[in-house]
Amino acid sequence: MTAAAPGPRTNMGQPVPRYDAAAKVTGRATYASDMPLDNPAYAFLVTSAIAKGRIDRFDLDDAKRVRGVIDIVTHENAPKLKESKLYSNGGYAGTTIQPLKSAEIAHDGQIIAVVVAESYEAAREAANRVKVSYSAAAPTATFDSPGTTTAAAKGQNSQFKEDPKVGDFAKAFDAAEVKLTASYETPTQHHNPLELFTTSCTWMGDNLVIYEGSQYVHGLKHGVAEQLGIDADKVRVVNPYVGGGFGSRGSMTPRTAIIAAMARRLNRPIKLVPTRDQGFTITTHRAETRHEIKLGASRDGRLVALRHEGAEVSSRPDAYCVGGTKTTTRLYACPNVDSLVSIVRADRNTPGFMRSPPEVPYLFALESALDELAVKLNMDPVELRRINDATRDPIDGKPYTSRSLMACFDEAAKAFGWSQRSPQPKSISDGDWLIGYGCAATCYPTLAGPSAARVRLQRDGRTRVEIAGHEIGTGAYTVIAQTAAERLGVPLEKVAVFMGDSDLPPAPVAGGSNSTASTCSAVMMVCDQIRQRLFKALMPSDSLADKAKETVGISPAPSTQAAKSDRSLDIEKAFDALGVGVVEEYGEWKPEGAPLDSFRAMHSGQVRLVGGHQMKDQIAYAFGAEFVEVRINRFTHEIRCPRLVGAFAGGRIMNPRTARSQLMGGLIWGMSSALLEATEIDERNARYVNDNLADYLVPVNADVPGVEVILLSEEDDRINPVGVKGLGELGNVGTNAAICNAIYHATGQRIRKLPVRLEDIEL
């Protein structure tokens, strides 16, 4: 077995190569902007150079003279669009700031004009020649800028229902033997998926086809239909491959309906390829956050009091927040917990999902604080976590469906060589380099959402699976194909999977790490429907009494039992018995506890994810432990991270190869977040400064010489039929804290603000 494909342990599928590997490495995989269009026009965006104020006038003369320009659309002549509500308010959009509606500017880089031309080059040149006169107002950039308004998240964000609390925090903290109060800060970050935020729209009569990298084709379809005021069934969104999502393509952005409306008016397909820097302002970002953690503990390390206060920056109109206290208040056993999340409004674009939206900033704070507490207690940070390991959610008292946090710590610690660590800061060095070891817990809620699927089986075993899931690079094609091959007992190479098309049966957003659990549960159920038809054909002996019992729900008939068991099926014989050439089944699956309107919502492009702490009698999370080695050059203060080791438990691992890859990417991203990634804001004008990949740094290969992923065996039959916990967002949660904890170990210096850069190191 190669390093890229760890051998399966108990409760893991086979590490088969990616379904789409050949297509991707040979360039045959077609991304949205690769889709052929018939005689397209090309759009180029003009975005605002101010963050607040209004447009006085455009001078378009110079731009219009560029040969090949067809049209320039501004707020003065843009097609009228209906408003779209936020996805959290029953709509589809990630922001309510709708550009081209008026002369008002609400944030830096807002779309203020769209040039359409015969070529991309002409559109770009004309866009460069558009002159804009603004009346700029002084914008509010971020925390501490004049003009912010701050209010509790509860009551203004429909998805943030409660600030978790239990017991009497104040009293317990007062009386605690050991206390810690510390503040932490995380920066604005941007996703920068390799595939730019492109959109192509083409009309065929009244029917619209949108090619756009999306993490939710059904959501985008309904959102655009709503904005255009047309029947959703007239809209189709297609993206068989998505060049990275990371949350940036989870909700609808304003550009799509604009391009669709312009294509309709022009009666010609339009292709938009925005620039990298435009991507920083026409989509979403991870907002900057601030935290105060208070921990009270007994001398033997038991937590007696925990308080987490978080603040997040959002836009003026939209109360976006991630509210990670829902996780940080439940991670460890603690009888007295308090929390508060606030939203700080500034003249910024509305933030949105970015991988592990709540957990990344909030666990950075908690897991750093825990390390600080371990130092105060003179205790190994792993042991501190062991002492406070929980079997139940401390807020609601519900049991975890399964929790392998300490098993992960133990396996990762062993692989890392943690036992050789001297706990004293500044105790290890190698030539010019100070060395530090650090660790942190990682976790992510286990979610699933209603999903439909259609499966078609032929006598020769050829299988076609149709589901509007999304291949955002995670291996979705592969694990869906594996699921169908396994349930139907057909060779993997006979399974064809079709995804990324809103004409296919709806699947949930590829977000919240729910995709594998949701789509594979649906595919498994539909495969079982096929098995049932075939077993019924093979087992005509199901007696009338059996059938009657099954009808009234007393007990399943033998053929049903066979279909749901792992019993193998002679497909050819069954087809012959049935006397047909093709068996096709459609089914709709929903997780236990899904709300009553789940399927209706699913067909309207709205997601009802359930799981995590919101289950009725239990709480479901995936866990992991991350260990890092940092090296700090005593002369240059450069910080490097030569080793990242993570152990993760995520229920059933469908494919150890793709799972490892996903988690490896997470660890690397986590390191990137700790040491490199920050979108710099010019506070004077509330504008992003380093809005490109040369200045918004992400790691290069030389930065990640050693990444080790350990997959633990974990079985959990209480979460979903496939027993899968989402892994997608598990990898990058603990890393920020693990790195800062390692920096403390290397230097004795505690850094509480990300990213950590060489100028932050004082030796």
């Binding site: 150079a49 080059e121 240059t636 450069e638 490199l676 004077r684 200045d695 740094l697 290069v700 290969n701």
Partner: protein, 338 residues
């Protein structure tokens, strides 16, 4: 990007003529209507960003056979302006006799860029100042003379602390130029009137009150070669940066020493990532000459190198960082096995 004409220059005369004809006499070179294209790694980038708007591109790559020499000889080194960064960095004799050159090239950019970029283009690389590179910021004295400087009180972590003026604090971003200036390189310039030579140290112009004028090159002139006297086996390039590869220097030092019997006979100290132009720290060098190396001396040299440094809101750290780098690089140069 805006429309431009493209022509390939088959010989130097044709290149110079093509560049000269389209050049408006009173433009600074950076705004000249005709621009030479070599590796294209800066020019194309800035054209896409609409920062540079040439109407004529003169491709000088056909001159490569004549202008790509990597010629170390008995009395020095000659490097053609169209030699690729990667070829020079990988050259065994350069690594042996001029490690500061090999390392400055190897530690710059990415492998892909080094394969494309030429030495001449490399020294002409323009600043990475975000406010310069983003035309939506009106106030950039380098781009729009007299418009002000957005970086002065903006996000200026990457900006210069040496050689700045009240008009511009943009950092000269390259690495290789520090090696050239340290080694007293001469630059050969080919123009209408044939070739002329000048010290490389006179090529770049500190911003002063004209940050739009970056070099002494005139429109219609091309760098054709660099030359260096002597061998400098005891030389190092030390670079600090945010990531391990493919990133500009936060601070760097090019050091070359001639040490005989423990005494420093000649010393060269050049600084990168901290100054508006390739920067030679001559006062610091003077402290080294005739001395025996120790840590205290290294510290004095480092202090002298940054005596005139002026930090701003986000970049003040570069002064202490730069001093540590100078001291460390000196130590590395003194102790290196040659």
């Amino acid at each position: 990007m805006r429309p431009f004409s493209y022509q390939r220059a088959s010989d130097p005369d044709m290149a110079v003529q093509a560049l000269g004809v389209a050049a408006a006499a009173n433009n600074p070179l950076t705004k000249a209507a005709a621009q030479p294209l070599a590796g294209g790694t800066t020019l194309i980038d800035l054209m896409k960003l609409d920062v540079m708007r040439p109407t004529a591109i003169v491709d000088i790559n056909p001159l490569a056979p004549a202008w790509s020499a990597i010629a170390p000889g008995g009395d020095g080194l000659r490097l053609g302006a169209l030699a690729k960064m990667s070829d020079v960095a990988a050259h065994a004799e350069i690594q042996r006799s001029y490690p500061v050159i090999a390392d400055s090239l190897k530690l710059a950019a990415s492998a892909q860029l080094r394969n494309m970029a030429t030495l001449g283009g490399n020294v002409m690389q323009r600043t990475r100042c975000n406010y310069f590179r983003d035309v939506s910021y009106e106030n950039c004295n380098k781009r729009n003379p007299g418009s002000g400087c957005a970086a002065m009180d903006g996000v200026n972590r990457m900006h210069a602390v040496l050689g700045t003026s009240d008009q511009c604090i943009a950092t000269y971003p390259g690495d290789f130029a520090q090696a050239l200036i340290a080694l007293d390189a001469m630059v050969e310039i080919t123009g209408k009137a044939g070739t002329r030579s000048m010290p490389f140290a006179q090529l770049h112009r500190a911003p002063g009150s004209t940050p739009d004028i970056e070099t002494a090159l005139q429109p219609g002139e091309l760098i054709s070669a660099f030359s260096i006297s002597g061998r400098w086996p005891r030389s190092v390039y030390l670079k600090a940066r945010d990531r391990q590869s493919y990133e500009f220097a936060l601070s760097s030092a090019a050091i070359a020493l001639d040490v005989q019997d423990g005494a420093i006979r000649d010393a060269r100290v050049a600084l990168g990532g901290v100054a508006t132009v390739p920067w030679r720290a001559r006062e610091a060098e003077a402290l080294l000459k005739g001395q025996r190396f120790d840590e205290a001396l290294a510290q004095r040299v480092a202090d002298a190198a940054f005596a005139d440094a002026r930090g701003r809101r986000h970049n003040s750290f570069k002064i202490a960082l730069g001093k540590r780098i100078v001291a460390r690089a000196l130590q590395q140069a003194v102790t290196m096995e040659i």
